[in-house]
Structures are given as C-alpha cells and as structure tokens.
C-alpha cells in the first residue's frame, strides 16, 4: 500500500466519495430506523371475521405487552391463573394451540412484537346447548365469559410484585418455549422488563379504584371509569369519584346490525348517536390512543358489523305460542324495541305441529292482530307513519326529501357520524328474507316504533342507576375534545337522563338482561323485580332453552360467579313492562323473542 499522499483531485474525490457514502449510510440508517423503529407490522387477515377476531386496531402500540412477556406471565403466575393460562380470565381460543386468544392481536412495534386487545375481546359470545359439551362461538355477541376486572387486577398485581424480576421474566420466557436470540434476550431483560413493570405500575396507580368496586364478574365491564382514568387522568380517589358513580359495570353489548342503529342513541345510556364515533370511542377503551389508532382496521370491522346478521335461535320454537307472543310483543314491547316477524310470519317459519287446527291458528292470528297498537301497524293499512325530522332519514320507506341525515346538534360538520369509508345511506334496507342461515328479519323503523333508540328517563325505566351515574357531563366534555383537529373529532357525546331502548334482534344471545346483566333470563325479566332472582350464578354459557338465557343455577356447568343483585350497581329493579301479564302470556312472549 503506497504511503504517498493522494493528489488533490484524488483527495477531493475521496472526500466526495466519503460524503456520498455518509449520505448513503445515513439514508440506509434512516431506512432501517424507519423499518424497525417507525414502521409497524401487523398480520393481514383476508376474511372479515378473522380480521375482527385477530386483526390489530392499534392498541398494541401504546399499551401492548411484548409477546414473550404475554406468554411468560402464565408460566410465572401459573398458581394465580389456576393453571389455565389466560383462559382463567375467560379468554377463549379459536383453536386449542393458537398462540393468542380471541380478542388479542399482535403488532410489531419498534422491532418488538406486542400483543393487546382488539374489538373481539368484548364481542365474542359463546353458548352450549343443554347436555352438550361443544361450545359455540358467536362473533359479535357479548363476551359473556370475559372476566376483565379480574384480568386487570392480575396485571396490577404483577406490576406491584417485587418478585417480578428480570430473571423471573427470562425464566418464564424459557418456560413458555421462548428460544430468544441474544439480542432479544438483552432487549427483554434490559428494556422490556423495566418498561413493562413501570407500565403495569402506572396502570395500577391509575386503576387503583377498581379495588373499591364490586367485581364486575364475567361478561361485564365498567366502560367509563377506567376510560376517565387512562385517557383523561381524571382523579379517581374517593373524594372525586362518588360512590354512586363507582359501580357502573354493565354487560358487553352485541354489535351486529349496526347500519339500522345509526342515529339511535347508542351505549346503554344513549350517550352518542353516531355508530362511527361510538366505535372509535370503544377502540380507545380497548387500548388505542388518538395517535396510535388504526382507523382503516377499525373501518373494516365497522363495515363488517354494519350488516352482520343477528344469530338465529339454536333451539326449538313452538310456533303457535310464538305467534301468540308476537301480538303481545307488538302490544307491549315493539314501540321501544322494534319488531321481528309478525304472527303470520312466525306461523309460516315455525309451523305448529300437524295436530294444530286451522281454526286454532286463525284464532291466534286474530288475537295477535288485535293486539297490535295502531302506531305499530305496518304502513299501507291506513296508518300514517309519524315523521320526526331526525328519524325520517332512517325510515324504511318514503324518505323525506333533503333530509338525508340528522344534523349535528353542535353545528359542527357532521363527519363524526359518518362511517369512516362511505357515506351513510339515507335509508336502511329491510332484510328481504325471513329467517334463514343469514339471520332474522327485524324492523328497526323508528317511524313505526317511536321509542326505539330513544332514551327512557331513569325515573321511568327504574333500572340500576350506577352505569348512568358513571357517565358524567365532565366526562362527555372531555370526550368531545378527543381527536381535536381531525374531521372525526368527537362531538356527539352527551349526558342523558336515563337508559336507551334498543332493538332486540338476537336477544336470546345477549343474556343476562338489563344493561347491568342483572336478570339471568328473559322469562325472569317478565317477573316483577321482587320475584326476579336475587342471588344467582353468572359464568355458565349453557343455554336455558325454556327461559331463554344462560343457566344461573349453582349446578350450571362452568366457572361460576355469584351475582348478588343487592350489591351496588347490580340491582335488578326496573323495566317492569310485561310483568303483569299472565304466566302463559309471558311464556308466549318469551317464545316469540326466541325468533328475534
């Protein structure tokens, strides 16, 4: 190698070359940085339902558990999780050996795969037919098994556990089969562990109030109190969180048939009438932040659930009794809940046994017809449909010209109410076919059923006020600041006076009943509050085919949770509609509701 100096030209070219290399190295470094530290990677699912079950909505970015920590925790805390792993908290796996339970998705963030919640955590229900061990899943139904309160408490305990050391984490990872490379081990030991411990400690600090709450039990969630604490740093101590608002746990809702629900007052207390806004808000509850939210992923779920059919009752239906119940339902329920088949359609779809005479059928039909209140009669029978400006757009037929959508009350652009990827239809289409594999026809016409989707004052409905009280004006104001600067900024949250009446499509799969899940079956709901079960068992997913709902007796299969209706937030009072019917009428009504 010559030691002679370079010529000036060679030196200049070398300098320039070094500059070029430096620039290229910086660009390459920038690209690598972007690929590893900035860009995020998710698994794309072709089927819409798979995307709902396993697709990421962006919750992992800010709140996710590194995947090997997620797998190590059941090893480290096998005793606390009863040896069941994450199943201990009611999480279910699509396949026995799936890496993640339903409701968890993964996303690679800053080079580390993280897992956290997605929408299906709270919206996949299960049931078993009596005597059958096979569990059936219903995507979109309330997650009747999920013990979120217990799960959060567990994570808080982990964050506070002095025994949760880097060594234990690494042992847990090894025990879970993690064969990490040495850089990964370094990352998990020196970066993941302290950050995870700190994050869990922070969660424990923010959500410490849950230890003052009643255990939510399976299938229930306190939607808004953790929301206040995590998203807005509301003070949640006893001085700031009144006892009346402390226990607001309620059942998870079903999420099918969202298109006709647009414009109805959504959430149990009806605090928002925009499906899109409600969805984004729910995603925040699952762990996304306004910065990390994956709107396209949520929009895809939104499209899917807009027309997701309600599930069909899996058991037998006594057609004649159900037809009789149709009239009772129309008379006592439809104005607030909408309507499924009429009696004639019930008889057509659920034909009575051959022994039933035509006269008997005619009698039932006539009785059912007579029971229909005039406001609920189908159009075209001399029964003009009352037109309300905000409802006109959602009527099945005869849309009011120029009234495509209700206007936003605040005067803002009405974008938050629009689905993310397409304008809302001016009218929804009534399902063309009656029951079949794809679902159940249901009439959501708010012109015909004027109370449907409306808030019924607490004084009128009389149900437990905990959930209603947990949602405050201050919180609504804070919510309406979310996504500030974006077209989808929240602006339709509001404090209401009670609870909203909802369509009862697929009501059989939404047990237990009332917003707080305080009444185990539909038949129980037909009884006056004093006669409803006071202390009963949640947690079984075996259907009671007669009373319609999950079994609630102590002998029911499954891990049971005693539900005490005398505890705060657990009251089974209120909603006394139909309680004065005769037992036979109540039976008929329940039989009819199987067909919804």
């Amino acid at each position: 190698m010559s030691r002679d100096p370079l010529t000036p030209v060679e030196a200049a070219i070398r300098r320039r070359r070094r500059c070029v290399w430096l620039v290229l190295a910086l660009l390459l470094g920038g690209l690598i940085y972007w690929l590893v530290a900035v860009n995020q990677y998710v698994i794309a699912h072709e089927a819409e339902e798979e995307h709902f079950l396993h697709g990421s909505i962006g919750a992992e970015t800010a709140n996710g558990l590194p995947v090997w920590a997620f797998r190590a925790l059941p090893v480290i805390y096998a005793d606390r999780m009863g040896g069941e792993g994450w199943r201990h908290f009611g999480l279910i796996y699509e396949q026995e050996d799936d890496p993640l339970p339903i409701g968890f998705s993964s996303r690679v963030v800053t080079g580390v795969e993280r897992v956290w919640f997605n929408c299906s955590l709270c919206h996949v229900g299960t049931y078993r037919l009596p005597g059958q061990a096979e569990q059936q899943r219903i995507p979109g139904a309330p997650s009747n098994n999920l013990r979120l309160h217990e799960l959060i408490a567990f994570l808080i305990r982990v964050g506070r556990d002095p025994g949760f050391t880097p060594d234990r984490l690494m042992e847990g990872i090894a025990g879970a089969g993690g064969d990490l490379s040495w850089p990964e081990r370094l990352v998990y030991r020196h970066i993941v562990h302290p950050r995870l411990r700190d994050a869990l400690a922070w969660v424990g600090e923010r959500l410490d109030f849950i230890h003052r709450q009643q255990d939510w039990g399976p299938g229930r969630v306190d939607t808004f109190n953790p929301y206040k604490a995590i998203q807005f740093n509301f003070p949640m101590d006893e001085a700031h969180l009144a006892a009346a608002a402390l226990d607001g746990a309620s059942d998870y809702p079903a999420i099918w048939q969202q298109r006709p629900r647009e414009g109805m007052n959504l959430h149990w207390d009806g605090n928002n009438d925009s499906v899109a806004e409600r969805n984004l808000s729910a995603a925040l509850g699952a762990g996304v932040t306004p910065v990390t939210v994956d709107r396209p992923a949520i929009a895809r779920i939104e499209r899917w659930m807009r027309d997701l059919p309600a599930p069909r009752w899996p058991g037998p239906v006594e057609g004649l009794r159900a037809a009789e119940g149709a009239g009772l339902y129309a008379a006592h329920c439809a104005s607030c809940h909408g309507m499924g088949r009429d009696a004639r359609a019930v008889l057509r779809d659920f034909p009575p046994p051959a022994g039933v005479t035509a006269a008997e059928k005619a009698r039932v039909l006539a009785a059912a017809e007579a029971a229909w209140p005039s406001s609920c009669r189908p159009q075209g029978e001399g029964n003009p449909i009352p037109v309300f400006p905000e409802e006109a757009a959602y009527r099945t037929d005869a849309p009011v010209e120029g009234a495509a959508r209700p206007s936003a009350p605040t005067g803002l652009a009405d974008q938050a109410t629009a689905p993310m990827d397409e304008p809302a239809p001016a009218t929804y289409s009534r399902p063309a076919s009656l029951p079949g594999a794809e679902g159940v026809a249901y009439d959501y016409d708010r012109g015909r059923y004027p109370c449907l989707g409306e808030v019924v004052a607490l004084s009128a409905i009389g149900t437990d006020p905990g959930r209603w009280a947990s949602y405050t004006r201050e919180f609504a104001a804070a919510q309406n600041l979310l996504y500030a600067g974006k077209p989808w900024r929240f602006h339709r949250f509001r404090k209401t006076q009670g609870y909203a009446s909802q369509p009862l499509d697929g009501i059989w799969a939404r047990s237990p009943y009332l917003h707080n899940g305080s009444v185990p079956t539909l038949r129980d709901l037909m009884e006056p509050p004093a006669l409803r079960p006071r202390l009963w068992q949640r947690g079984s997913d075996e259907l009671d085919l007669a009373r319609v709902g999950y079994r609630s007796d102590a002998a029911a299969p499954g891990r049971l949770f005693p539900y005490d209706t005398t505890r705060p937030g657990n009251s089974n009072a209120g909603h006394e509609y139909g309680t004065r019917l005769t037992p036979a009428q109540k039976d008929a009504l329940v039989e009819y509701m199987k067909t919804l």
Binding site: P5, T7, P8, V9, E10, A12, I13, R16
Partner: protein
C-alpha cells in the same frame, strides 16, 4: 442548407454574388501590415498543435513537420499552439514550452523552418490557470494556479487563487517568454487571453472572485494582463509584435445557467482600449469567444460523443467532475442529450461566429489607434466569407485551425476556389482525438476510398504524415540525419504567390546535412 439531422451544421456555401472569386482572392492575399510586421496574406494558422513534443517541454522534430505543413500550405502567419510560460501553466503534456532559455534553440528551428515559406510565426504565450487538462506528473500533487479557488466547473479541476507574489512571478514568466520568442527569431507573440485560460480567469467577471487589486471591476480584473503587456514591452521593446487573443463575450454560463455570464462585449471593448496603453500596448487583437475550452462556440461545431467516450478517460485523474462527464459521454441517452445541448448553446452560425465581436472590437480600437489590427477566428474556410468579413471591415485577417487540419493547403485552394472540395465538417473529432492521439483530421468520411477500411487507411496515412520525415533514418546522413521533406499533405495546389516547392526542397536538402537544431 441545414442538415441538422446529419449532424452537419449550417455552412455558407454560395459565393458572394457581388464579388467574383478573383476579387475575394485579391482581398485575402493582400498583405497585412501591422505596426512592426507585415504578413503576406490575411490567413493565419490558429493556435493548434498535437502532443508531439518532449514530455519536459522541449520541442521535437514532429512539431517542425507540423508547423511546416501549414507554412507550406500558404498561410501568411502561424500562431504557435498554446505555449506555456511555465510548467504550472501547461494545459497538455508534450506541448513545447517557453519556460526556459533552453527552449530557445528549438523555437529558433521552428522559426527558421516556417520562414522558409515566407510565413510569419507568432508565439502564443500561455498559462493554463485552472484549465489544466493534463498537467503532467510535475503538477500531479499541485492544485492549478488561478484567479480563484473555485474549481473549474466543467472538469472539476482543482485550483487555488494566486497570491500577489505569485501573480507578479507569472507576469515575469510571460515577459521572459516574449524575450525568448524574440531571441528565437519569432516574429511576435500573442497573449492567450481567451477561451478560459489564466488571463481569461482574471478578466472574466464570471470567474474572477478576487477581493484584492486584481479583482472587482473590469479595470481591476484587467490589471493582470495589463501588467503582462507592460512587462513584455519592458522586456522586448515597442517594436516586437504583440497581440492579444480575447473573448468578445465570455458565455461563461453555457453549461450551468447559474454560473455568471462573464464579460459582456462592452467590458471587452473597454479592456481592449485599455490594452492599447496609449500606443505602448498591443498591436493587434485576435477575437474569439467562450470562457472555457472547449466551448460550444469554440471550436464551433459538433461534438463527437463516441470519440469523447473513447478518449476522455485520460481526464478521469485530472478533475473531480471528469468521472461524471465520462459517464454522461458514455451513455447513449445522456450523450445524445449533451450533444443536443452543446449544439443548442452554440447556435446556428459556425463560419464567422465571432464576426460581430470582431466588428465591435475593430470599431472600438480603430477609433483610438487606426494602426491596430484585428484577427477573427471561428470556422473560416470559404473565400467569400473571409473576404466578405475583411471587406466589411469586421476584421483584418482570419485565423483558421480545423479547416487547415483538414486541408493543409487551404490557402492555395482559396487562391483559385471559394472553398475546398473536401471541406472540414466541423465534427471536432480532431479536438477530441488530440487528448490521446496525434492531432489530425479523424473524419473518415472526408477521405477517399470505396469502403470504410479504405477511407480509414487513408485517414491514418494522412494523420501519421506529421511524423514524416522521421527524425532519424538509416543512410548516409547517419544517426540523427533528417530526411527530405515529405510531399505536402492534403493534395495542395500551388498558389500564384507560393514559393517554388523545388526551391524549398533544395533548401531542406542543404539543411539536412546536419543534426536538427
């Protein structure tokens, strides 16, 4: 006729109807008196040569053959190729220099050889400045001298601004060069103040960024060359012919529009009047244009991209942008784009491209001193164009390079015809080949032959004719004995006032008895 698609630019072919050829020839072959010198016609061989000489700057026998070609062809005067006044001012290696008294004998031999044909010879005193294409191993570890430290924007040749003492030293080098030229018997000197070399680098507002007394306004920028003129006059006296080659305009922005345009014609005229120095300055101006070499305007013509790809590689070690240029020249697409750009920047006129500037210079300097003459360069090869320019008063004479390479006997042709049968095509292949090959006409299509091989063989024979007669031969003359002159190249025909060829041969035979000087 425009033959743009064939790459042959516009050429004025038709004779001037108002003036029969005899009249044109009379104008061209009318002797031109300068203040201290008379040239027998209005045709100068412009400053060109090949890399024929010794590496250290001593001249070689091929150079004698080279200059003799044109003297024999009938030009009234020869301006030597770029003759560096110092090794640091070299443009290309193997060009004879005038940096030391030991070069005087060679130039005396050149002078004697040319004078045999009643041809005058002027030495072009030059300094490359930063336009140092192949500086040689002597300059390998040095940056070029210049008025600026900004590298040459075409090849990226590195340079550093000269200090005051360095400037004064270079001024003296020019003066000493002039003295040596006079002692060698040459008829005068020319300062190469055009085409981007050191003097241009001081003169041009587009290049000179100095903040001392040699930079700023036009007078300050002209201080360097004025000091050279005065130093030369101090050294050689008022009678030795001194002329200045200068750009009419610099067109310094031809390649990159963000470069300064350089001197305007108005500034040039002011500089020319300044260099007259109240009658003690220059005797003539040689008008060109273009602040780089090459430049689309100089030598005006085409750009042979394939030749550039072949022969530009020697420049790779010389400039920081040479690699980029070579890549551009080597890629068909970028080469075509560059060639089109080159031709667009040149414009449509080739023959007489600088006449507007020459006219302005003539008017400006004649108004001050009617004895000052103006020579114009730029594609001349037709009698009507040359005579027309002189008759119109645009200039007093023309200098010719490429058409004389193509037809060494062009003056003899112009004596009886408007132009040569096999014209120079302005292809500029000679220019590009000069980087690595003997200077000559490399346009194969100009040569006779039925096939490419035939024409190529004829071309090689013509190009290599510069090496004949060889310096050494076997025979009675023994080692070092020069042989008799080779037949004139280019198929020349004797002009009426040409010296008798037989006489010249006799003189050469006499001179061939001894070792070449």
């Amino acid at each position: 006729m425009t033959s743009w698609c064939l790459g042959v630019p516009d050429i004025v072919m038709s004779p001037d109807a108002d003036h029969p050829h005899e009249s044109n020839a009379a104008v061209i072959f009318d002797p031109l008196p300068f203040r201290g010198l008379t040239v027998r016609n209005r045709l100068f061989r412009s400053n060109i040569s090949g890399m024929f000489d010794e590496y250290d700057g001593h001249g070689g026998p091929t150079r004698l053959n080279w200059e003799e070609k044109f003297a024999r062809g009938g030009v009234g005067g020869i301006i030597t190729s770029f003759t560096p006044v110092s090794v640091r001012g070299r443009i290309l290696t193997r060009y004879a220099m005038i940096d030391d008294d030991d070069k005087i004998p060679f130039w005396r031999a050149v002078s004697e050889r040319v004078h045999r044909y009643d041809c005058k010879i002027l030495m072009q005193l030059s300094h490359s400045g930063r336009q140092q294409d192949l500086g040689g191993v002597e300059n390998l570890h040095r940056k070029a001298q210049s008025s600026t430290s900004k590298r040459d924007y075409f090849h990226g040749i590195l340079c550093e601004a000269m200090t005051g003492p360095e400037v004064r030293a270079v001024v003296q080098q020019f003066a000493q060069g002039a003295r040596r030229a006079r002692e060698a018997g040459l008829d005068g000197v020319e300062l190469h103040g055009a085409n981007g070399y050191l003097i241009t680098q001081f003169l041009s507002s587009g290049i000179n960024d100095r903040e001392d007394e040699y930079g700023g306004g036009w007078e300050a920028r002209a201080r360097f060359v004025l000091e050279i003129v005065r130093a030369i006059r101090a050294e050689v006296g008022p009678d030795f012919h001194l002329q200045m080659k200068i750009n009419g305009e610099d067109h310094n922005d031809w390649l990159y529009p963000w470069q300064g345009r350089g001197n305007s014609l108005d500034e040039t005229l002011k500089i020319c009047r300044l260099l007259l120095d109240d009658g003690r300055g220059v005797d003539a101006f040689h008008v060109s244009s273009g602040a780089t070499f090459p430049h689309p305007r100089n030598p005006p013509g085409d750009l042979p991209m394939r030749e550039l790809a072949r022969w530009y590689d020697g420049m790779l070690s010389q400039g920081t942008r040479a690699g980029f240029n070579h890549a551009v020249f080597s890629n068909r697409l970028t080469a075509a784009a560059f060639r089109a750009y080159w031709r667009w920047r040149r414009g449509n006129v080739i023959e007489g491209i600088n006449l507007p500037y020459a006219r302005a210079v003539t008017e400006a300097v004649r108004a001050v001193d009617p004895t000052v003459r103006v020579i114009c360069t730029g594609g001349f090869q037709h009698a009507d164009a040359i005579a027309g320019a002189i008759r119109a008063g645009d200039c007093d004479a023309v200098s010719i390079a490429r058409p004389l390479i193509a037809n060494n006997d062009l003056p003899q042709i112009l004596a009886h015809a408007n132009g040569p049968e096999r014209e120079c095509t302005y292809c500029n292949k000679c220019l590009v080949n000069d980087l690595e090959n003997p200077l000559g006409c490399y346009e194969v299509s100009r040569y006779p032959g039925a096939s490419f091989e035939d024409r190529h063989a004829a071309m090689i024979a013509e190009v290599m004719s510069v090496f004949r007669p060889p310096a050494f031969r076997d025979g009675p003359g023994g080692f070092g004995a020069p042989v008799a002159a080779a037949p004139p190249a280019g198929g020349g025909r004797a002009a009426p006032d040409m010296p008798d060829e037989a006489d010249v041969s006799k003189e050469q035979a006499v001179a061939s008895d001894g070792v070449r000087p």
